[in-house]
């Protein structure tokens, strides 16, 4: 062994030199270990800081919602109020017809969802699976719609709905979103990915066309449907702009509008009541998010990547 070492090293390596070598190496190892530990600590600290930046505002919101007004002005802040003021929630709820807001929100978000399902499934199937004259032109309309944000055309739509006498009605808030270009785009992709063999097998099994669609094709795109449903429901539950623009009285107004209005009713600085109202709006979504976090993240991110 020694002889080989010597020839490879090019210079003689004695026992002492060898000892020195191992000690240097062990020192290096210790240093590297320390560095690695430090990095790991830094990484952990960074992640914790991130959580703090994103979670703190919510914690602060809950904390404020349980304080009296004077308590909200105390610094350094009390994170956990000594005697939680649950009354704030009742006060927030009583600033307006909140039951109506809530019912309106549910009716509109669910109504939109149901109509969207009814319109996008057949449309996306036809675009994905049938060849027909004008399909390119019609799909062009879908693509153009996909690119037009509702924010851009609210003025003419407002005039349109007003001409139809649909302002301040549920239908007026539902109808413009009764179909979704995004949904059609997404679902069409899913339908196109299903292999032709499967359809042929079904045809040899003597299945009628509608049966093939309902029994075989739609169940196969169920994950995409769920994804889209989550996306659509959350978007319309949260929507502030459209109901704000398309309503002039309380009949069809939704939760986000009611919450935003607390400020007008209670005065600008009643942060405790505002945060209580805010929590009424946020809590359901946050609960759903924590229950099905993975699914929801997939819904939004996957839609982004596709």
């Amino acid at each position: 062994m020694k002889a080989i070492d010597r020839t490879i090293g090019g210079s003689p390596i004695g026992a002492a030199a060898e000892d020195k070598w191992t000690s240097i190496r062990s020192k290096k190892m210790i240093l590297r270990k320390a560095l690695r530990a430090a990095l790991r600590a830094l990484n952990l600290a960074g992640l914790l800081a991130l959580v703090l930046i994103f979670a703190m505002p919510f914690v602060w919101m809950i904390s404020t919602s349980l304080k009296t007004l004077p308590e909200t002005m105390i610094f350094p802040p009390e994170w956990i109020p000594k005697s939680p003021v649950w009354q704030n929630y009742a006060d927030a709820w009583n600033t307006g017809p909140f039951l109506r807001y809530f019912v309106n929100s549910v009716v509109i978000a669910v109504g939109i969802l149901i109509l969207q399902m009814l319109t996008i499934i057949p449309a996306s199937y036809a675009f994905a699976r049938y060849k027909f004259k004008g399909s390119n032109f019609l799909f062009g309309i879908v693509m153009v719609t996909l690119m037009i944000p509702a924010q851009l055309i609210f003025l003419p739509v407002y005039l349109e709905l007003s001409a139809f006498k649909l302002l301040n009605t549920h239908l007026g808030l539902i109808l413009p979103f009764a179909s979704s270009a995004f949904g059609i785009f997404l679902l069409r992709q899913a339908f196109m990915q299903i292999s032709d063999e499967l359809l042929e097998a079904a045809r040899l099994d003597q299945a009628a066309e509608w049966k093939i669609i309902i029994k075989i094709m739609v169940p196969m795109v169920k994950p995409v449907l769920v994804t889209f449903a989550l996306f659509s429901f959350i978007a319309h539950w949260n929507d502030y702009f459209w109901p704000l623009v398309m309503t002039t009285n309380e009949t069809a107004r939704t939760l986000p509008l009611g919450i935003a209005k607390i400020r007008e009713v209670e005065g600008v600085a009643t942060w405790n009541i505002l945060m209580a109202g805010n929590l009424i709006l946020v809590a359901p979504i946050l609960v759903v998010f924590f229950l099905s976090q993975r699914q929801i993240i997939k819904a939004f991110v996957y839609n982004g990547v596709k």
Binding site: W60, A123, S135, V142, S179, Q293, F300, V301
Partner: protein, 290 residues
């Protein structure tokens, strides 16, 4: 083929197409039409004024400020959101329970109503009793006016937008990173590629479709910012946070100058249209990386 079989696809797409035609396609033309009239919504007569509305708009100093506000807001929001999100994604692209938890936490603002976020941040940015001023006070800084001063109001709104968008952007980046096959990294390491080279020569180009996607999506979103402005600043102070959609909203629904607001809408339409076209152009050029 029977007649029914020939008509079937049309029947299937009809409901969706009718909705789109009625509430998306037709309104565009209607808006362009309205932009050439002087009309207050109540009066039975519309007066044709040609391109006068556009001329007035562009001559108006307020509108010019609105355009510049919107541009500044968009550029800042997009660069900060996309840039920080990319760094976060590179850092957090690991599969562990803890990383999953952190990803969930930073994503959560994305699914929360902008109303909630606006109210919450108004409270956090309260000049007197806001938590933010207390925190920067701990670090030895003086109080800031945040939304109440023209010099900080727009950047405060950018902060809120970045806070809201960061998690979504980071997760899209992570999904993009995970779609890069692992063997490419392995091949690079066998070729003795340095981490920086791997990043600039391999990861970044392969991620470019995702980057373009996010940049454009963020841009289109930022150009239409409305909720935070309506709730947090109402365009103020002294017009410092007034942006396009809010401007259209005010002219249409507060001042009832329908033609004028429509003209501003057409300008926004052109901007968003150009952005979308760039997006599809870039996407079709870059698509081979996937």
């Amino acid at each position: 083929m029977t007649v029914w079989e020939k008509l079937r696809p049309y029947g299937m797409v009809a409901p969706a197409i009718i909705i789109f035609a009625l509430f998306f396609i037709y309104p565009i033309f209607y808006m362009i039409y309205l932009s050439m009239f002087d009309w207050n919504f109540v009066s039975p007569t519309k007066t044709y004024v040609g391109f006068q509305n556009f001329k007035d708009l562009l001559a108006e100093p307020d509108f010019r400020q609105v355009l510049s506000n919107t541009t500044v807001y968009t550029v800042l929001t997009v660069t900060l959101t996309t840039g920080i999100a990319l760094l976060l994604a590179l850092w957090m692209n690991r599969k562990s329970f803890f990383h999953g938890f952190v990803q969930g936490a930073i994503f959560s603002p994305h699914i929360i109503s902008l109303v909630s976020i606006s109210l919450l941040w108004s409270w956090l940015m309260d000049p007197e009793y806001g938590l933010l001023n207390w925190v920067i006070g701990l670090a030895g800084f003086g109080k800031l006016e945040w939304l109440s001063h023209p010099s900080t109001s727009l950047i405060s709104l950018v902060m809120v937008a970045v806070w809201k968008g960061l998690g979504y952007n980071a997760l899209v980046f992570i999904a993009g990173l995970q779609s890069i096959p692992a063997d490419i990294y392995e091949a690079a390491s066998l070729d003795r590629s340095k981490p920086w080279t791997t990043f600039t020569k391999l990861i970044l180009p392969m991620l470019s479709p995702t980057i373009f996607f996010l940049v454009i999506i963020n841009m289109i979103g930022s150009f239409q910012v409305f909720e935070t402005i309506a709730i947090m600043t109402q365009g103020g102070p002294v017009n410092s946070t007034n942006t396009l959609v809010y401007y259209i909203y005010e002219y249409g629904f507060r001042f009832f100058k329908i033609g004028y607001a429509s003209a501003a809408g057409v300008i926004l339409l052109v901007i968003v249209g150009i952005l979308t076209m760039i997006y599809f152009k870039l996407l079709s050029n870059r698509v081979h990386y996937r």
